[in-house]
């Protein structure tokens, strides 16, 4: 068989995946460098990764507004993928900043952490940029396998082991369903390219084809697992509680956004013809996810577990925007995912600071008196909690506003009402933290923990990110709308 090599290389445009290339190469280089870095100075690896992440971010934004496909249409660089890449890079950067202090305290400061964070980021970025089922799968697995390692990173902690093992077994299980769905879609259409599948589906209508329908739902199952939507959320609280706190922060923000990115692209590009089918399903799932997340969070004392359930609820809010299928709802998802990254990682950064070795003090009660002893830290936590609860003038409020108004525009008034009621219920458990911080007396002797420079930086960035888009949302919203328009 003759293969025209010159022609083959014409389809390859490395610029399209330049941010991914930078991070992969940096990750591999750091793995080598790590061998020569004494265990006390692993913090330098964090700074190196941060430089790489910022560099990749700068390279990525240059493509804004253009649409370039490469690798035989299996990867695309468009505003949609770039917007999501920014979210992932942000999550990775903030996670890297808060890692060193935590990992040193827990005596598991292994330098491999940073390369694995970088590889996870590469996986997420590929997921957002993929326009081929194969690339989506590879991105998803690169992300997932790295996340299993991150969840179980603290090898000596039984909780961390347990988190890693549970995440691994359930994650691999869900991958099976995702793949079976992809196999069925391939069987019906005879191709794995998203654009070609889309053409075929629109041609034949799609809705009448049972195999295609089953394929779509099985593939969706895989993504719904990754975003922790009910009823596929059972792993979330255990994994979030057991995993090292900075990694919990990372995996609550990044992979959720990656799941939404791949789901948005798949459903909006491939299956718009079957919107009637998936829209109803997402309606039900959105209600289920919000309600389960919020009402279980109400009973939690452990703050990591509470934020885990709250993260399920937040996936539910985003599903509201998704079910609506309107441009407002979709851009709302993008906006919300970005602001959620700021506020959630910020909250986890505070948890990193409050925690002690082995995390004996993970409950809300341990925050008593923080308002008097560390007023600035308490103020930051207040901002994050207000933003998570969706109070004006924070980013969380604007995000929810657009998600719910998307639902209203699409005529799903009830869905919006259920969403608002849920949001009101969630205020209880967020405010509880604030009440403990300001109105309950703390212990007499208060451990004077130090706030290291990187964590302080992460806190400032997250607080700014949770406030500024709430006060002047127009700019960020404009970007989100542009991004959605182009897919």
């Amino acid at each position: 068989m003759d293969i025209n090599v010159a022609q083959l290389f014409q389809t390859i445009n490395l610029n399209v995946i330049m941010p991914e290339v930078i991070l992969s190469v940096l990750g591999m280089a750091l793995l080598l460098v790590n061998v020569f870095v004494p265990s006390k100075s692993k913090g330098y690896l964090a700074w190196l990764s941060l430089i790489g992440i910022i560099g990749a971010g700068f390279v990525a934004v240059t493509g804004w507004g253009t649409t370039v496909s490469s690798f035989n249409d299996s990867v695309v660089q468009d505003s949609f993928s770039i917007f999501f890449k920014m979210i992932f890079l942000l999550a990775a950067g903030l996670a890297v900043l808060i890692s060193d202090q935590y990992m040193s305290r827990e005596d598991c400061n292994h330098g491999e952490l940073y390369p694995i964070i970088l590889f996870t980021t590469v996986g997420m970025m590929l997921m957002a940029a993929a326009t081929d089922l194969m690339t989506i799968f590879l991105g998803l697995e690169l992300m997932s396998i790295s996340l299993y390692v991150l969840a179980g990173f603290n090898r000596d902690s039984i909780k961390s082991n347990e988190a890693g093992m549970k995440y691994f077994l359930l994650g691999a299980f869900s991958t099976g369903f995702l793949l079976y769905g992809m196999a069925l879609i391939y069987g019906v259409t005879g191709t794995t390219r998203i654009a070609k599948i889309a053409g075929l589906v629109t041609q034949v209508g799609g809705a009448g084809n049972t195999m295609l329908l089953i394929g779509m739902f099985l593939t969706l199952t895989g993504f719904l697992f990754k975003i922790a939507a009910a009823p596929f959320h059972m792993w979330t609280p255990d994994v979030y509680e057991g995993a090292p706190t900075p990694m919990t922060a990372f995996m609550s923000a990044g992979p959720k956004a990656a799941g939404f990115a791949a789901m948005l692209r798949l459903l909006l590009v491939v299956f718009p013809a079957m919107k009637a089918e998936w829209s109803d399903l997402l309606w039900i799932l959105a209600v289920l996810t919000m309600t389960v997340g919020n009402f279980t969070a109400l009973r939690q004392d452990n703050i990591k577990r509470m934020l885990a359930y709250s993260s399920i609820a937040h996936a539910g809010y985003c599903l509201v925007g998704f079910a609506s299928g309107t441009a407002t709802g979709m851009s709302g998802i993008l906006f919300y995912m970005l602001s959620y990254t700021f506020m959630n990682i910020g909250a986890f950064a505070v948890i990193v600071l409050i925690g002690k070795k082995g995390e004996p003090n993970g409950t809300v009660m341990d925050y008593a008196g923080l308002g008097h002893k560390r007023p600035l830290l308490a103020l930051a936590m207040t901002v994050f909690m207000f933003s998570l609860a969706g109070m004006p003038p924070t980013a969380g409020f604007i995000g929810k506003f657009y998600l719910f108004s998307g639902a209203v525009q699409a005529g799903y008034i009830w869905l919006a009402i259920i969403g608002v009621l849920n949001s009101a219920a969630s205020v209880y458990y967020y405010l509880r933290v604030i009440v403990f911080m300001y109105f309950k007396p703390g212990e007499e002797e208060f451990d004077w923990f130090n706030v290291s420079a990187p964590v302080a930086l992460a806190l400032v960035v997250s607080a700014a990110g949770s406030l500024i888009p709430g006060i002047i949302p127009s700019l960020l919203l404009q970007f989100a709308q542009q991004a959605v328009k182009l897919i």
Binding site: I145, Y148, R155, I158, A163, M165, G176, L179
Partner: protein
């Protein structure tokens, strides 16, 4: 390629056996073996479709699935060993530190 349906039925049955195995077994390694069974059922589906449709995309997909499954096995077994070191058990009922 006589009958695509036969292959699809076999792979669907394999996939179901794998799924039931994951849901009912308690030993983490056996569960993982069941997951591998599910993945291989998917591989069979892909190859059957690929042969039937006469294009190679499906078979290339199978290569990727096998590679990823190998990477997954490496990570998973390492995780099981770490768990075993701490708990002296590989039974998922012993992974019970965190509940509700």
């Amino acid at each position: 390629m006589d009958n695509l349906n036969n292959y699809l039925i076999v792979s669907a049955v394999l996939f179901s056996i794998g799924t039931i195995g994951v849901l009912t077994r308690k030993n983490a390694i056996v569960m993982f073996m069941c997951i591998e069974l599910m993945l291989n059922a998917v591989n069979l589906t892909f190859v059957a479709f690929s042969r039937h449709l006469g294009n190679l995309d499906g078979q290339i997909f199978v290569f990727f699935i096998m590679t990823v499954a190998a990477a997954e096995a490496a990570v998973g077994l390492a995780m099981f060993i770490a768990f075993f070191n701490n708990r002296e058990s590989i039974d998922i009922d012993d992974a019970n530190l965190m509940k509700w």
